[in-house]
Amino acid sequence: MSARALPQPSAASRIRWRKLLQYLVMVAVAIFFLLPVYLLIITSLKSFDQVSLSRMWDLPQGISFESFARAWEVMGQSFVNSVMLVIPATVISCLLGSLNGYVLSKWRFPGSEVLFSLILFGMFIPYQSVLVPLVTTLRTMNLYGSIPGLVLVHVVYGIPITTLIFRNYYAGVPTEMVEAGKIDGADFFGIYRHIIFPLSIPGFVVVAIWQFTSIWNEFLFGLIITNAPEKRPVTVALQNLSGSQYTQWNVQMAGALMVALPTLLVYIFLGRYFLKGLLAGSVKG
């Protein structure tokens, strides 16, 4: 600290008090944020005979994975479904988004900006406004109630956000590089493969994380488009578990943790990219 920052003792102590207060408030808010996590973890680690409502805030006596075993019995198939759903949907979304973003940033044509706005609107609509036609269409396509059907739906309704992120990302790639490619005789795909794609890895990471997280966490489409319990994604299974008056809270909490874990891991290890996707969805660059 420089001398200028400490003109007199009273001001210095005021600053120190303010800092302390700030920390106190921030810690209090952090506790508010971690409270449900604490409850989730301690409850799911309790064995069945330890689950008592009056001791719900107490730490478990010894760690038991009974509740996870039971939750897996009920939700394991759904967990696998979600994995089978999220991987192809994310990969296809990324490729489509990258291609669209490339066209809309480097191969603009008259009306392409208007088209982009029209595409973008698709990401804000309440999906209730498309559900009935969607179900009817998927039925005629023989995709209703199937995982490929859900993949299709997530890919289509993912087009706006993936296109947006890639378009803004590619806007940062100097047009001169594309021009240079043209002069070198590269065509549309040549420029994509040799210039754009190699620069796209961070963009792919952001979009993949975004799509993975939102598809994994999605509920409404899963609820409407799957009818058979064995085809449900994991969010629907969890909601079912909690809605079925299942009084065994440890199983519910273990189920919730199971659903939370994949996206939480992504957040913990790739949080920086997650944040970028988050902000890209709101701030058009």
Binding site: L39, F121, Q128, L134, D184, E218, G243, A256, A260, S282
Partner: protein, 331 residues
């Protein structure tokens, strides 16, 4: 690369006019996406709009045209009026809390120094969770139990801390404050108390996002501007009021649009935490549409509600997109 040799032929082939092979390839490449959006977004919306004007309120499709009858029917029910009340109350509380708390947290995180990244990570992590997970966890926290003697969840925590006066019925409380039924309305105003816990859970999940937006905004304000004001003798509060806050206005606008449309579309959280109850005190149009369409076979009425929801979202989003788009063209 042998530039000199490769330039002439392909260039000559591609240059003339606006249309060339690459541009056609580009348009062909984006065509499937445009087609998909045209059908799955615009086509389906038109389809739903059409269904909302028909008599399809049974198991089998019935495309008899009935005009706006479904809209009138729906608006005339106390249930839908209650839904709209809930949606507006939820949106106002959710938006205001997220904005104020998000800005507060952003300012604190921005200036805290030590521990910044830990605090930031803690405030943002719920964003990575599903609303269903959030709902399951918070529903349990807000399960009141037989309070005050035999409480559960937060009530129990309050009891242990000697804060018994904080105990409440939370998601089971069916009362409405101030319990006022205006003439002509079939619902009571104004605030259904059971909605408050849902707002808390939604804020828990989304305030980190608001904070991240404000944080990015704060970091984009050049330090020199604030420094100059300080040199001119402005207090920290004045700097915040007169410089920081106005410069954050675009962020606030974006946040209002994004959070507002999320709030209008909220569905998962309500389904998991309360299922719309007690009574219809936390039900919102998105849930009612689901119930009517997929549980009660009132497809046309459900479609009418979906269209109302769409119009509400469009009122918020279209001007925003238009404004963003216009700015971009001018740039």
């Amino acid at each position: 690369m042998q530039q000199a040799k490769t330039i002439p032929s392909p260039q000559a082939e591609r240059r003339p006019g606006w249309i060339n092979r690459d541009r056609i390839t580009a348009m062909l490449m984006i065509a499937p996406s445009i087609l998909a959006i045209a059908i799955f977004v615009y086509g389906f919306i038109a389809w739903t709009g059409f269904v909302s004007l028909t008599a399809w309120n049974g198991i089998l499709p019935d495309y008899t045209f009935v005009g706006f009858e479904n809209y009138f029917d729906v608006f005339n029910t106390g249930r839908f009026q209650t839904n709209i009340r809930n949606l507006l109350v939820f949106t106002v509380f959710f938006l205001l809390t997220c904005l104020v708390m998000g800005l507060g947290l952003a300012v604190m995180v921005d200036s805290v120094g030590k521990g910044e990244s830990i605090f930031r990570s803690i405030y943002i992590f719920p964003m990575s969770l599903s609303f269903i997970v959030t709902g399951v966890a918070w529903a349990w926290l807000f399960t009141p139990g037989n309070f005050p003697e035999d409480p559960t969840g937060l009530n129990l925590l309050f009891h242990r801390m000697g804060l018994d006066f904080l105990q409440a019925g939370w998601i089971t409380d069916a009362s409405v404050w101030p319990d006022w039924r205006p003439p002509g309305l079939k619902t009571k105003l104004l605030i259904p108390l059971a909605l408050i816990p849902v707002v808390v859970a939604a804020v828990w999940q989304m305030v980190g996002f608001t904070m991240a937006m404000y944080l990015a905004g704060l970091r984009s304000i050049p330090d020199e501007i604030r420094e100059a004001a300080r040199v001119d003798g402005a207090s920290e509060w004045q700097v915040f009021r007169k410089i920081t806050l106005p410069m954050l206005q675009p962020v606030t606008l974006s946040a209002v649009i994004i959070l507002g449309h999320i709030s209008l579309k909220i569905f998962d959280l309500i389904m998991t935490m309360t299922g719309g109850g007690p009574g219809n005190n936390t039900e919102i149009p998105g849930v009612l549409m689901y119930e009517l369409t997929f549980k009660a076979n009132k497809v046309a009425q459900g479609a009418a509600i979906a269209m109302v929801l769409l119009v509400l979202v469009a009122l918020l989003i279209v001007p925003y997109l238009y404004y963003q788009f216009k700015n971009e063209v001018e740039r």
